[in-house]
């Protein structure tokens, strides 16, 4: 059953992102509000969730909320993605668009403490 398949993909994808990163660079100034607009309009949310909580395409789609990825790695994944994620070229996403999206997802709250949510501890 495919929905349970390739859980390894997440780990591999994240690892690939990390390996491909050059020296960390400062991210260009991004507009989180515009980033949210693009994130919703251009379909990022369809795999990664409106809250950046991750999801699934053919395999699991990584969590983006409050991502710790450096900007270059993030951009590299959009331009030359690993696994099944489609490549977003400059004709559909400019570098500034990517910076805006990056600003949006890094500002999203990441994981909380499961212990603070009673119904997650059944």
């Amino acid at each position: 059953m495919t929905k349970f398949k390739r859980m390894a993909v997440t780990a591999l994808a994240v690892a690939a992102l990390g390996v491909g990163v050059a020296a960390a660079q400062d991210a260009p100034q991004g507009n989180a509000t515009n980033g949210k607009r693009i994130y919703l309009a251009d379909g990022c949310f369809t795999c990664h969730g409106r809250s950046g909580q991750g999801g699934a395409y053919n395999g699991p789609a990584p969590i983006l909320a409050h991502t710790a990825l450096p900007f270059d790695a993030f951009k590299n994944q959009l331009r030359n993605p690993s696994d099944d994620m489609p490549a977003y070229s400059g004709t559909v996403l400019s570098d500034q668009d990517i910076a805006d999206i990056f600003a949006f997802v890094t500002a999203l709250p990441g994981q909380g403490s499961a212990k603070d949510v009673a119904i997650l501890n059944n």
Binding site: M1, M7, A8, L12, T46, Q53, Y57, Y88, A114
Partner: protein, 648 residues
């Protein structure tokens, strides 16, 4: 569905009457000249060679024929009903149709509604209900339809059952003898070989020509359907055979049915597999449609604990407890470390052991490490057909064992135990402890991941599943449906009983989830279990009428609509296509979304006689809505909760 209309002169009983009328007309023509200018001229009187009939003959031939019999005391359908009941068939889901009215009437009156008729508003619903029922109850129910147009409606559901290896007895009415068909609908609803459209995805079919033939074919159909690998079967039933009186009741015999004992694997092969598993450093067991009965899960647990090895469950059935420390289903990376892989009753082994990229150039590479030994156990490949490609891609293996997985596991476990010495026991315990630790970490990670977007609207699927579990965890629950790629239940919930899960559609044909869940709920009802299911909004709209069936038959089920207002998988695929071409990624909602207007599933449900809640957009509203819906289910009927969710 157009119903069969009675023609004025169609039955076998009219044969002699018709012959008499022809004789009378002939005599009249012999003595009466033509009265119209364009009528065919009568033969000249002088050329007649036979004598003109005398008054007595004319009188005899022009007497009114004997009246048709207007009553009968038996019908073939009565005998068919007895046969179906002899097989222990509890239910027959139907969309009523004249081509099997004889059987229908017999079940209601002769059988006192046994098998119990389950009224469905579409044949697709009826077959899917039977599929869901069989996976909970462990035996087939019947489904009946018009043999041509009804069967055409039923085909996709039959394909799902075929791919899912689930037994369903499908019955289609037909009128075999051309001279018995009324003009109109009976001709377009009849066929020479009506089973041909489903033959590629049924295990066996027949069109009995006599009642005894029916009895033996029904028993054979049941036997074939329930022998692993299981699958749907089809019987075409002649209308005359159902409707006419039984000509010679004393000659009929109901066959003695004995179920087939599923085949166990060869003992030598089992010994070889046990040796490989015991000597392995990192054995991994992968499984899919393994558990046929409640024994299946217990048998797999016994083998896993004997070997202290990892289990990766593709969840085609309730194979392994979700919180068992050896359950590594969400740590599939360990396949890459396995030196021996035992694959039991797998549906898509190649897909499970391969990394495949859906890119412009599609590539694949094994997920396994070089030199890993692969052993298969199962009956999946013992019955294949050629057209539909549900058998998946070829996978190289080192030892392929034919045998029913569930039935063969005890022998494999015992063979492994005989090979485990004290030294290995210690190593196995260490391995088990490592796996248990990793399992716990995975569960904790899932809980932590579930917190992201906890209070968001639309509601995250993690929050939806957590809220539902919080309400039903103390019930004797059975979750019998899920939406595409919705796996939070298996990540967060404590599945440990054999009936708490029953797999998915098999053929990935949309429209399965709602009716199949209701069929599973029908099976659960008499066991007093609390049935619930999740399902997508797209799936719901294929067969919303199934809710009416649940309401009509008072089938209790809590149905959660995972309403992302889209055929979301297709939305993602389309976005990938647009991105690949560098254009229009912001327009991919065209043709993929279900909005403008948004569908109000709670209102739809209420209109079909069920309790409806929603649409729920604020996660804080979920718990109260679920409590109300659960109360409605406990009162004996279906409840639908429409939860507006994030896509995945």
């Amino acid at each position: 569905m157009p119903k069969r209309r009675r023609a004025p002169d169609e039955s076998r009983r009219n044969f002699l009457k018709g012959a008499g009328l022809v004789g009378a007309a002939g005599a009249a023509a012999a003595v009466t000249p033509p009265v119209t200018a364009n009528a065919f001229p009568a033969a000249p009187q002088q050329k007649l060679k036979a004598a003109v009939p005398g008054p007595r003959q004319v009188a005899a031939e022009t007497l009114a024929p004997a009246a048709d019999p207007v009553n009968q005391k038996t019908s073939g359908g009565d005998f068919m009903t007895d046969v179906l009941n002899s097989l222990g068939i509890e239910y027959m889901a139907i969309n009523c149709a004249s081509s099997y009215r004889g059987l229908h009437e017999s079940i209601v009156n002769h059988g006192n509604n046994k098998p119990e008729i389950i009224t469905c508003v579409h044949e697709d619903i009826a077959v899917h209900m039977a599929q869901g029922y069989a996976k909970i109850e462990g035996k087939p129910m019947a489904m009946a339809c018009h043999g041509v147009v009804g069967l055409q409606h039923a085909t996709m559901a039959m394909y799902n059952a075929w791919c899912d290896r689930v037994p369903v007895l499908v019955i289609g009415g037909n009128i075999m003898e051309a001279d018995k068909r009324a003009p109109g609908a009976e001709w377009v609803h009849a066929g020479v070989d009506i089973g041909q459209i489903v033959r590629e995805f049924t295990k066996w079919d027949d069109q009995p020509a006599s009642l005894q033939h029916f009895a033996e074919s029904a028993a054979r159909a049941y036997k074939v359907a329930t022998t692993p690998p299981m699958g749907p079967v089809f019987l075409a039933l002649d209308a005359e055979l159902q409707e006419n009186p039984i000509p010679d009741p004393e000659s009929l015999r109901i066959p003695k049915f004995s179920p087939v004992v599923p085949p166990q694997a060869d003992s030598g092969a089992i010994a070889s597999a046990a040796k490989m598993l015991v000597e392995a450093q990192n054995p991994v067991i992968v499984c899919d449609r393994l558990a046929r009965t409640p024994a299946g899960m217990a048998n797999l647990v016994a083998l896993a604990e004997t070997l202290q090895c990892a289990i990766i469950d593709n969840a085609g059935r309730m194979n392994f407890p979700s919180r068992h420390p050896l359950n590594q289903s969400f740590r599939r990376g360990i396949i890459a470390q396995a030196d021996v892989i035992l694959a039991i009753e797998m549906n898509d082994l190649w897909g499970t052991l391969t990394h495949f990229s859906d890119r412009i150039v599609r590539r694949s590479r094994p997920s396994t490490k070089p030199g890993a030994k692969i052993v298969t156990l199962g009956v999946r490949d013992l019955y294949l057909k050629g057209n539909y490609q549900d058998f998946g891609r070829w996978q190289d293996v080192d030892l392929a064992i034919a045998g029913d997985g569930e039935a063969s596991l005890p022998a494999l476990t015992e063979a492994a135990k005989r090979l485990i010495d004290d030294g290995r026991k210690s190593a196995f315990a260490d391995r088990g402890a490592r796996l248990a630790k990793a399992h716990l970490a995975m569960v904790e990670q899932s809980k932590t991941d579930a917190t992201i977007g906890w209070d968001s609207s639309p509601i995250t699927t993690a929050r939806m599943c957590a809220e539902v579990y919080n309400q039903i965890k103390d019930e004797n629950w059975s979750v019998v449906g899920t939406a595409i790629r919705l796996s939070w239940m298996h990540r967060l919930w404590d599945f440990k009983k054999p009936y708490q899960w029953n797999g998915v559609s098999g053929g990935a044909g949309v429209g399965y989830n709602l009716p199949a869940s209701i069929g599973a709920a029908l099976a659960n009802k008499k066991h007093g279990r609390f049935t619930l299911a999740f399902g997508g909004d797209g799936d719901f709209m294929f067969n919303p009428g199934a809710v009416w069936t649940a309401a009509h038959h008072q089938i209790p089920i809590l149905y959660i609509v995972h309403n992302n207002r889209a055929y979301h998988q297709e939305y993602m695929y389309l976005t990938a296509m647009a991105a690949r071409l560098g254009r229009g990624v912001d327009k991919m909602d065209i043709g993929t979304t279900i909005k403008d207007p948004n569908i109000d599933y709670a209102t739809v449900a209420r209109g079909l006689g069920a309790h409806g809640e929603g649409p729920i957009t604020d996660p804080k509203d979920l718990a109260p809505a679920l409590k109300r819906a659960i109360a409605a289910v406990k009162a004996g009927g279906p409840a639908v909760v429409d939860v507006v969710t994030d896509p995945r």
